[in-house]
């Protein structure tokens, strides 16, 4: 046993020494290349990304793809250190850039020599990751079929099945030497066989009547109820991408929900806060974003607004629409009530195409008012009223209906 152990120990030691040697050999080599670029990347991300991309796309400043081929190292360092000085010295290339980019002065960066060489190493060898991002974002389009396509496929399968069965029957019949039938003849034959029995007729008519009654009832109850209403919009805007994947708060675009009756449809300038620089969507490419530019007159190539452009509104289709005889106020529910948007609007952050989630019927409103407790804490304005309510309903839950949330004139006036 002992010698074996000894060999084992030796082997382990040998292995770890070998590993150490390999690491020691690799480290300096990778240091030579990788480290320069990674620390350069860090510098770039912290200081440059607000104005420059690593592609050819123009941002506030020019895209930096191939910038190290266009300009020599010394010139770039001078420019980054103090571009204004370089312009003042009468350098033609510097003046040309300054003029081209609307005379926006670039911030001066006082990097050390080491930092400059890291940064330039990164600029000369940018990583190729953007392609990967684009393709990974493209995958979700293919997932899932709509229900109507599924139904189409099922009905097609059924029709082919009928056709196959009838031709099989005909084959058998012709093999036996009997007369063959066409599909309608078979269907009519089966039908007359079925209605020759009275019980069958009664049974079918009873089922038919029940189904008709059910449809009539549902139809009447559905008058004015537009749950699941999902119209196609003038721009294929996806809440799933904006609110879900990008995590933009609802209030960012619907900023008047906190202040007004309406939650507010963002005007195009809110879109432009990001889409001045993001000109391509992950699913629809440039087509849908171009519609914003067409509405307000923006040229994504030069990133400027077109002078004298006749702007036209984007005609979004309204989904949530209470009848005019009912009053609803967003700010009352969002600010005073502290209700999350999703409670009424459903999982908007998962919807590619928005639909109406709740019924928006009076029954639906009243039910919530009966169940929702009033937020008493941190509401200085109504302190006195809340004290009175607590006195009146000792020990009970104080819900919205207890302070007049079911009064007719609260919503109908």
């Amino acid at each position: 046993m002992l010698p074996e152990n000894g060999i084992g120990e030796n082997m382990k030691q040998y292995r770890s020494v070998k590993a150490l040697i390999i690491i020691l050999l690799i480290l300096p080599i990778s240091n030579l290349f990788a480290d320069d670029i990674t620390s350069g990347e860090k510098l770039f991300k912290q200081n440059c990304t607000a104005c420059h991309t690593m592609t050819s796309a123009r941002l506030v400043g020019p895209g930096l793809e191939g910038v190290t081929d266009k300009y020599e190292k010394e010139w770039l360092i001078k420019w980054i250190r103090n571009s204004q000085e370089l312009i003042a010295s009468g350098d033609e290339r510097a003046i040309a850039i300054f003029e081209e980019y609307n005379k926006v002065a670039m911030t001066s960066f006082d990097f050390s020599d080491q930092e400059f060489s890291d940064l330039l190493a990164y600029l000369a060898n940018p990583p190729v990751i953007e392609e990967a991002i684009a393709t990974s974002n493209n995958i979700p389009i293919e997932e899932g079929m709509s229900t109507s396509t599924k139904l189409m496929i099922i009905s097609l399968v059924l029709v082919t099945l009928v056709y196959l069965l009838v031709s099989l029957k005909n084959n058998l019949k012709s093999a036996l030497g009997k007369d063959t039938e066409t599909i309608p003849e078979t269907l009519i034959g089966q039908y007359s066989l079925f209605i020759s029995n009275n019980i069958n007729v009664i049974f079918v008519s009873a089922i038919f009547t029940i189904i008709m009654l059910k449809f009539t009832y549902d139809g009447l109850m559905g008058v004015g109820v537009t749950t699941n209403y999902q119209p196609s919009q003038p721009i294929e805007f996806s809440h799933k991408i904006h609110a879900g994947q990008n995590g933009v708060d609802c209030n960012y675009c619907h900023s008047s929900a906190r202040k007004s009756k309406h939650s507010g449809i963002p005007s195009a300038n809110v879109c432009m806060n990001c889409h001045t620089y993001i000109n391509e969507g992950s699913i629809t490419g440039t087509t849908e974003i171009q519609k914003i530019y067409d509405a307000i007159g923006f040229d994504p190539k030069t990133r400027t607004y077109i002078d004298g452009y006749v702007q036209k509104p984007i005609e979004w289709v309204r989904i949530h629409n209470l009848p005019d005889h009912a009053y609803f106020n967003h700010s009352q529910h969002v600010v005073a009530g502290g209700i999350e948007c999703q409670e009424c609007h459903g999982p908007v952050e998962e919807m590619d195409v928005l639909y109406q989630y709740s019924e928006l019927t009076m029954d639906w409103c009243v039910e919530c008012h009966r169940e929702t407790e009033v937020q008493m804490e941190g509401n200085n304005y109504y302190t006195h009223l809340h004290e009175q309510l607590k006195e009146k309903y000792k020990g009970e839950k104080i819900t919205v209906d207890k302070m007049g949330g079911l009064e007719c004139a609260k919503c109908h006036y």
């Binding site: 607000a50 991309t53 006082d110 599909i183 209403y229 960012y252 005889h325």
Partner: protein, 191 residues
């Protein structure tokens, strides 16, 4: 053959007629749609037929008196940094209001601590300057951590670099509250 065609057609029509594109029926549409104009709608009165009108030039809405009189230019940005004064007191109420507003309007790019890492991962907006950066001098002539309230307010109002203007989404009071919270984040330390 004729029958088969009709059957296939009718099945196709039955299947494709199911969609959620329509609004369905309304009972007494006169009560549903009153003659008064809705905010987002059309009318026949104005040439452009838009219901949402812009206020007359020079209108000052109640509570919207200007507290910040600087233009969008770089000179005004520098002037604002030097001279603009936050009318709000830096107390815990205002700062917590500012924090709530920050989470709605800023966090998806600037991150929860003002040190980046927001939920937007697009290459252009994924990396933003840190509020607590005290090394690199910026266009203001100061580092990020030394930005004055006027600089921050100017950036929110008119935008800066890749950041867009947010004046239409936030009132001036709300912007000053965000400024107070951002000034707290400037003191935030990574360690």
């Amino acid at each position: 053959m004729k029958y088969r065609f009709i059957i296939i057609c009718s099945i196709y029509l039955l299947v494709t007629s199911c969609s959620n594109d329509g609004r369905g029926y309304e009972y007494m549409p006169n009560m549903y749609r009153s003659p008064s104009l809705e905010t987002y709608g059309k009318n026949k009165i104005f040439n452009d037929s838009i219901n949402a009108r812009k206020p007359v030039a020079g209108t000052i809405a109640r509570g919207y008196l200007k507290t910040f009189n600087y233009g969008p230019s770089l000179e005004d940005y520098l002037l604002a940094g030097e001279h603009a004064i936050n009318p709000l007191e830096s107390n815990s109420d205002n700062i917590s209001d500012g924090e709530a507003l920050y989470s709605m309007f800023c966090e998806h790019c600037h991150g929860p601590d003002g040190a980046g890492g927001g939920s937007i991962t697009h290459p252009i907006y994924s990396v933003v300057p840190y509020y607590n950066d005290d090394k690199q001098k910026r266009r203001s002539g100061t580092t990020m951590s030394e930005l004055k309230s006027g600089h921050i307010f100017h950036a929110i109002t008119y935008g800066l670099n890749a950041m867009g203007p947010h004046a239409s989404q936030l009132t001036e009071t709300e912007r000053w509250k965000i400024v107070l919270y951002v000034q707290e984040l400037q003191k935030y330390s990574n360690e």
